[in-house]
Amino acid sequence: MADYLLSLITFFPLLGMLMLLFIPRDNAGLLKSFALAVTLITFFISLPLAFDDIFASSGAMQYREFHEWISIGSFFKMNYNIGIDGISLWLVMLTTFIMPIATLSTWKSVDKNVKGFMALLLLLETAMLGAFVSLDLFLFYIFWELMLIPMYFMIGIWGGKNRIYAAVKFFIFTAVGSLLMLVAIIYIYYYAVTAGAPIEGFGVQEFYQLGIPSGIQHWLFLAFAFSFAIKVPMFPVHTWLPDAHTEAPTAGSVILAAILLKMGTYGYIRFAIPLFPEALQTYLPYLAFLSVVGIIYGSLVAMMQDDVKKLVAYSSVAHLGFVMLGIFALNLQGMAGGIIQMVNHGISTGALFLIVGFLYERRHTRQISEFGGLAHKMPILATIFLIITFSSIGLPGTNGFVGEFLALVGAFESGLRWYAVVATTGVIFAAVYMLWMYQRVMFGKITNPENEKLKDLSVREIVLMVPLVIFVFWIGIAPNTFLSKMNPAIEQLLIQVKSQQVAVVDPVLPVIAQNLELK
């Protein structure tokens, strides 16, 4: 069983999708219940991963599965090669955890072509899980592209007024990046084969050892970095995000924010950084700079939004800036902070999109000015919204603080000290835009008569939010549950990066070498 656990988790939603196709399309209730059951079962079969103590002691890949898959002569080989370490573990768990919540959120909001929506939802889950567990670059690419399609249709068919523009923009931005990455992937393989390296397919861990010459590394790194930067999204290629988020249906926004954006940051950790450590040294200051700009920029623009959903979307740009800054610190604290902040962002921003969804379902508007005084009518929502707001602001005791603090500690200890100081001002702006929004929506007197008849959260809606709130405090108060299982993997990754960089001494920017000496 354990031998195939990862495959089972990954493809169970796909299996569910195939079965779902046999359910009559007019039975919306059954379709939704079935999809929910599939995502829930996926979550439960993935639980043993989170409880496996092997991750606390070993940074190596676990639950490996390797099968030869496609081979064209002796030249082209591509394998079904999957496994997880303490880094991808939490992203897999985040995915299986968020999906039932996202599915349950569609109960009242999706009534058009339910069958199609649920099928796409399940297909998307398999694609995302597949991308997180792939250890073969080509396999990763297949899942990566596979994710694009369901999301494109979710925005384009079930989205808001401007959905076509948003869907096309989302598709083009991401596709441009993907194509560059595809070229780079093929080039690495071509290089490895012509260099006579002993490789089996596109195995990423074998590619780590290639020692690609620095001239080539630069181009390859840029291709990967650009592709992932769009997905994160980093400034200035973030403009697809506000449109996509605003137009997407609630479940789509939740998945997009909570999981899909993590593909970009994960891509840096798993591929761009360890594959091209040398090129990274050159570009790291620029990327760190863009991360910090993202924090400030996202916050300032979020502040001025009059659409709640756009505000949350821009706040994502700022939050992901913290993630990237932590990762680029290239030390234990920074990486751990970045990774835990990825999970945090999934929880907090996912929750925020759910809340916006609750409001939208009741009022069919997202304009902040339409609301005001809602705390009178919806005390339960007011409480949950407040908790999530402060989690997003990064109040100590909530998850947001742990991630931001670790990322900042890491950045500060590395050569990114000044970047860290500037990034720290983000804590001020976050308070400004979140509290201002909260005040305008929840506080004050009810001025709009439409709001007089609002109903507080239903049991279903509370059930959606409670697990998220639990994790807000769990990660905030006892993050060691998660940190202890990611530390060995991060250490291994850093050793890997370091070993490649020691061979090449770059006198201009010895940022990384300096970090590792400090240990």
């Binding site: 083009i172 200035p236 403009t239 300032l300 623009v301 603090f405 500060f412 308070a431 201002w436």
Partner: protein, 655 residues
Amino acid sequence: MYDYLWLIPFFPLVGFVFNGLFGKKIRNEAVIGGIGTLMIFLSFLVSCGNFYALLQDSEKVHQRVIASWMSVGDLQVDWGFLLDPLSALMILIITGVGTLIHLYSIGYMHGETGFYRFFAYLNLFCFSMLMLVLGNNALVMFVGWEGVGLCSYLLIGYYFEKKSAGDAAKKAFVVNRIGDFGFLCGLLTLFWALGNKGVWTINFVEIAENAHLLESGGLIVTVVTLAFFLGACGKSAQIPLFTWLPDAMEGPTPVSALIHAATMVTAGVYMIGRMNGLFAMAPDTMMTIAVVGACTALFAATIGLAQNDIKRVLAYSTVSQLGYMFLAMGVGAFTAGIFHLMTHAFFKACLFLGSGSVIHGMHHGYHHAHLKDDPQDMRNMGGLRKKMPITFWTFLLSTIAIAGIPLFSGFFSKDEILWWSFGSNRGHWLLWLVGAVAAGMTAFYMFRLVFMTFFGEQRTDPRAKDHIPESGLTITIPLMVLAALAVVGGYIGIPAILGGANHIKQFLDPVFGKAIALNQIEAHGTHALEYSLMAVSVGIAVFGIFLAWVMYVKNPALPARFVASFPGLWKAVFNKWYIDELYDAVFVNNCKRIGTFLWKGFDVRIVDGIVNGTAWVVKGIGSGLRYTQTGFLHNYAMGMVVGVVVIVGYYILGK
């Protein structure tokens, strides 16, 4: 006993969870208020036990770790508590004053729809504040630090349907966040700097032990302490971050007493005291602190002179008194700063609760007469001493204490601060002068308040004036206890020159003694000098009281004449020197402008412009290239012919 330290913050947390979850269903005020008060009282008992144990103990520093919080490489953070004389004193103040204010709130908040919410928040506040002072490392302190900020936000915004309350709550949190930015920067720099010396720690005891690794007076120590001081400025409402505190008076009065006078706002002072080893090593920072403190003390006092809202006067008074505490910390008089923190907690809590009692009475009167007048405006008061005798007498005693009249608590602590600002080798006579002038103003505006409220003609609307009752026992008992403390609280710190033993100094010596000795901070001067300075400051205070008497009792027409002769000055003072307007113009509006520009100018025009432009170009090229694929055979044939001609021509001519 120390093993039960965790119980001190735990009890209020239980109260918070209980009232937060079930308060709404219970509805019974006696149960809700009773549980809230009981929880903090239990904390008080445990605090007393620990305090007593520490008094008996020769070992003065005790740490207890509950669990590991974050463990990543060199960064090891625990959920841990620290009991030493400083935190022992603080927990006594917090739980003691806290219990009285909880009790008071049962009467004061009677009949409020959000009664349960209020008590839940109040308990949560006590929990956070106790975490702040008990934390054994800077990060647990930060949990409390931001936690009290959160509670402050929630309690200022308690009447959230009022826009002004929502605005004030947000302002308080955001301005505090500016300070928190400083706190975080200081913490990060310190962690890194000590780490570079081989000690990765944020534990207070270890920081104190290893502070000597850093260069005394060097850049790093100065930067670290200045950054922490920025944090203190936010929390303790010092220049330039003081503007949130007066607005915070939107919260219910017990909140003003507990959070915005007695405990939370003193957190900055406590933090400097907690890290005195570092601060003492940075003379430049100390000087900055002293100057900022003295300026704040004076500046806030000037604004206090002209306010008519009874709580606003007290708010500016608080800002001003906090300035004194910072002045003390800045000149190295750590003990005096903490001493003043304590006496201030007594008399200012009493003053706020007294003002609450007055407001309560006024409100009752107006309510009875169905009037909508402002129950906080002192111009509507006057002559209340006969209506509310207990409130009056307790208020008067506390006012005498804050004015610095000998034998009352405020005298001893304030005098100690003034003496150190003059005589300390980190002090200066100018600092003393500013402090003394501010003390005169304090005496003036406090007695102005007393005279306007309790003396003279009753200016209340005649329909309401006979319906202003004295408050009930739950309100008057805390007043009496606090007034008694405001009178006698200073006796633990009678200096040697007045024949006292200065117990508090000896008690706190294990905390401050080392840094003071290491950095050779001391106050010099003859006894004659010390006596004369004392006499001068008392003289100034008495003069302030006299002036207030002349202007508000003897000749009440005088203030109007004064206003008429200096209209510009009066307007500027009344409008708080227009600082809020200045900040709005410089920071708030510009941030909004930049945000709008980045969004509509950069995102929409430039980035999307490029993207949409590229799309447009591609589309153009595409439609141009469409002509190459017309599907007509003769067009393709034509193309081939042209191609052949070009290639052949190239070879012929090229050769």
